[in-house]
């Protein structure tokens, strides 16, 4: 064991950073015997304050510490690792000293990291790589990161792995580092930085939080830094970034209000939604694709995939009769052809047995069965005024009108508690028109009713809940319109009652309603997507409703008059865009999450703050809840 003393060093210098296990692979002007020896790569500071990269062969070093390892260490932890030269000043020592490689940082022009980050090359004059080092333990990443504390670098355009030193001998202060070189992102591309900074403009709140979580107090320092000097007087990406960032910070100020008092400062952020993406509709599910999705026995295995396709583009009209039976849970997706035949047989028998139940009620029975009589009377009245202008249901003694009646009467027996409620005939008509067949139409209708049965509750609780949820969604997604509606006594959204009760049946033509329904039946992309359809329609009417200062009556009239004037593809696309806006909104509340059926912040401790803002409001009256919704910003002290 040799004695150890840093004082033995011939030159007064300080090791700032060391990396062990680095092989000298190539060095211009050195004999081959010097190469391929293991050593330590360091950043050292000379007594005059200048710094250099130094490589020392291992045989020059003895280390007395038993904590020695072959890994790197940073300067502030190196104290216990006393590295010294050999105690005896021998000729071997002199020879070893001669093998030290030194690269003054002031002269360093470029460096390059290759071979899976394990090789580093240095150059002090352009065109020549004077030194090549191979990192046997780990890789060069940490060394590079440390080096970048001392020299400001830029990546060359043609080679992502080559760094050009643009300024050497800078202080090793984080705030002096260029924003692009902070390495806060795993991807080291300019694009990432660009997208981050442009997001500042559009989503200042979210982006700032993201960035601050990584940057803490650095952002402003970077701004100050770039505010004072440009790079070589030339406007480059970094400068653009800084400009955008400055603008973004003022945008952030626009959306915040600061209340000062003697003891504290309250900063309230008025959250805004991220921009709405424009999502084009897809093409309808084709016959070929549909057939391709079934295995040889007729099973549909990729159920989610099929639903995705249908959500994107709907279903080609020719295969609607087949596909709808699956969407409406008449046929299970994974059933084979033979299983389907059995299901058809069983369901046909079941249907006709229920039909027989009411068909066999005699007139005298009926006269003593008022509940049945009332239902029958309602059904008769409604089928006679359901889509009678459509050729399929037009004219006196139209057999299809009779089919509507038979199916609805059988449904009364199928679900006597619910019975017949106005609106059901509207829901059934397109199904019968498409399927033609009484039994198929009945079971598809029953499947559809499963999805919307709560619309027809005796106490209308389901409708009221949906209208309330719609109001909540609108308040979040289109707050200015929600505010206008509330100011016109229309915050209860009752003017959307018809839309919701029969899923927009009265608002669209037969072909459009078929498209809308099949998309909604997929249950994608979230729960209650039909409410986002409402939001999309209202959003398109926002300017009219607000600019003309429509009141209680005009709002209802305007909404009722939209019937048959709506563009289904545009609405679907807008609704999906709104969905994505909500999903990427940083201030999304649990209330909205619950409506859309997505996990609440309770599962995400980072969002606790929001949770407390929007917890279950219980039976509060809507007015009070509106007030709370509007005040639902972030309050931070």
């Amino acid at each position: 064991m040799s004695c150890s003393s840093t004082e033995d060093l011939p030159d007064q210098y300080k090791e700032l950073f060391t990396q062990d296990g680095v092989l000298l692979k190539a060095c211009i002007g050195r004999p081959i015997s010097d190469l391929n020896s293991i050593g330590m790569l360091c950043v050292v500071q000379n007594s005059d304050g200048t710094k250099c990269i130094e490589w020392r062969p291992n045989d020059l070093i003895t280390i007395d510490s038993d904590t020695q390892d072959q890994e790197w260490a940073v300067v502030n932890t190196i104290g216990r690792r006393q590295r010294t030269l050999s105690g005896n000043m021998t000729s071997d020592y002199a020879a070893a000293r001669a093998r030290i490689v030194r690269i003054p940082l002031a002269e360093l022009k470029t460096f390059k990291v290759t071979r899976n980050n394990q090789q580093m090359q240095f150059s002090t004059k352009s065109g020549v790589w004077q030194n090549t080092f191979y990192f046997q333990h780990g890789n060069a990443e940490i060394f590079v990161a440390y080096l970048k504390n001392h020299v400001k670098t830029a990546k060359t355009r043609h080679d992502r792995n080559t760094y050009v030193v643009v300024e050497s001998n800078i202080d090793s202060q984080a705030l002096n580092k260029s924003f692009t070189e902070l390495d806060i992102f795993t991807e080291n591309t300019t694009d990432v930085v660009w997208s981050l900074v442009s997001n500042f403009k559009q989503r200042p709140y979210e982006t700032t939080m993201e960035a601050f979580s990584k940057l803490t107090d650095i952002v402003w320092s970077v701004l100050v830094y770039y505010g004072n000097e440009g790079l070589n007087g030339k406007r480059d990406v970094s400068e653009e970034v800084a400009d955008l960032l400055t603008k973004s910070m003022s945008a952030l100020e626009d959306t915040t209000s600061i209340t000062k008092s003697d003891e504290y400062e309250v900063i309230t952020v008025k959250p805004t939604l991220p921009p709405r993406p424009c999502i084009p509709r897809g093409t309808p599910l084709s016959t070929e694709k549909w057939e391709g999705l079934q295995d040889t026995e007729g099973r549909i295995l990729e159920v989610e995939g099929v639903k995705q396709l249908i959500f994107r583009g709907g279903v080609a009209h020719s295969i609607r009769p087949a596909v709808w039976k699956y969407l409406l849970d008449y046929y299970p997706w994974r059933s084979t052809h033979s299983e389907i035949r059995k299901i058809q047989k069983r369901k046909t028998e079941e249907y006709f047995s229920m039909k027989l139940q009411w068909r066999s009620i005699t007139e005298r029975q009926e006269s003593r069965f008022s509940e049945y009589r009332e239902r029958k009377s309602l059904v008769e009245k409604d089928v006679n005024r359901t889509d009678r202008s459509h050729p399929f249901f037009a004219g006196d003694n139209n057999p299809n009108v009779l089919l509507l009646q038979d199916i609805l009467m059988t449904y009364v027996m199928y679900n006597f508690d619910l019975g017949y409620v106005q609106g059901m005939s509207d829901v059934l008509a397109p199904l019968l028109l498409l399927l033609g067949n009484e039994v198929d139409s009945f079971w598809c209708f029953a499947g559809f009713m499963e999805k919307i049965a709560s619309n027809f509750d005796m106490d209308q609780a389901g409708m009221k809940q949906q209208l309330l949820n719609l109001q909540q969604l609108l308040t979040f997604a289109v707050p200015d319109l929600a505010k206008h509606l509330a100011s016109k006594d229309s915050g209860n959204m009752y003017f959307c009652f018809r839309w919701l009760l029969v899923w927009f049946k009265r608002e669209f033509s037969f072909s459009d309603i078929m498209r809308l329904w099949e998309v909604l039946w997929t249950g994608l992309p979230c729960a209650n997507f039909h409410l986002l359809i409402c939001v999309a329609i209202l959003d398109a009417e926002k300017d009219v409703l607000i600019s003309k200062d429509y009141g209680f009556n005009e709002i209802l009239k305007h909404v009722n008059d939209l019937s048959m004037c709506l563009d289904i593809d545009k609405i679907l696309s807008t609704a999906e865009g709104i969905y994505h806006q909500l999903m990427s909104a940083p201030h999304l509340t649990d209330q909205i999450r619950i409506i859309l059926g997505i996990p609440t912040a309770a599962n995400n401790p980072n969002d606790r703050n929001e949770e407390s803002e929007s917890e279950d409001l219980g039976d509060e009256e809507p007015g009070r809840e509106n007030a709370r919704n509007q005040a639902n910003g972030y309050t931070r002290i």
Partner: protein
């Protein structure tokens, strides 16, 4: 915008499903009839301005879904109504019996002074009649409400019914006005003479729970 009327009256059509509320309204507002009407979902209204004793009276007539289930929603639109048409179908006994329920519904909720009228619709369908005109008249006397049989299809008594209801409202209003404005101080505007909907619901509506 220049005001094109002297009075605005809000009227309401109520009654069982399928008695012809929408047909009556369509006849009055468009002077037309369509055999293949669709059922009313939710609520809608139509406007017609009539001339009444030299005054332009704008009638805003609200049409509601008849099924009882929807009543909690439709009553939200009752606020500010000054006249109510209670409609039954002369070919449907049940709808006539239910007039009592509808009246009770109004009495339970409405201010006592809302003008009412009973209409026995579909009187053109004599062969299917289940409710005689006399029974209708008897009921009206019982409740001291005006009564008329109508046919939206044949355009019988529809105009008369609306004019009568409007005239009664106007008379009641002018009487009230006179009472509140002593003779000599007349000519002041009154709250009904305005485009705005009435903000303050009558007492019977304030008790309607909305959601």
């Amino acid at each position: 915008m220049a005001k094109t009327y002297d009075y605005l009256f809000k009227l309401l059509l109520i009654g069982d499903s399928g008695v012809g509320k929408t047909s009556i309204l369509f006849r009055f507002s468009e002077d037309a009839f369509n055999i293949s009407f669709i059922s009313t979902i939710g609520i809608d209204f139509k406007i017609r301005t009539i001339d009444l004793d030299g005054k332009k009276v704008k009638l805003q007539i609200w049409d509601t879904a008849g099924q009882e289930r929807f009543r909690t929603i439709t009553t939200a639109y009752y606020r500010g109504s000054m006249g109510i048409m209670l409609v039954y179908d002369v070919t449907n006994e049940k709808s006539f019996e239910n007039i009592k329920n509808w009246i009770r519904n109004i009495e339970e909720n409405a201010s006592a002074d809302v003008e009412k009228m009973i209409l026995g619709n579909k009187c053109d369908l004599d062969s299917k009649r289940q409710v005689s005109k006399e029974r209708g008249e008897q009921l009206a006397v019982e409740y001291q409400i005006k009564f008329v049989e109508t046919s939206a299809k044949d355009s019988l008594n529809v105009e008369y019914a609306f004019y009568t209801l409007a005239r009664d409202i106007k008379a009641k209003m002018e009487k009230k006005q006179e009472a509140s404005n002593p003779p000599g101080a007349r000519g002041g505007t009154h709250q009904l003479k305005s485009n705005d909907q009435q903000r303050k619901p009558p007492s019977w509506l304030s008790r309607c729970s909305i959601l």
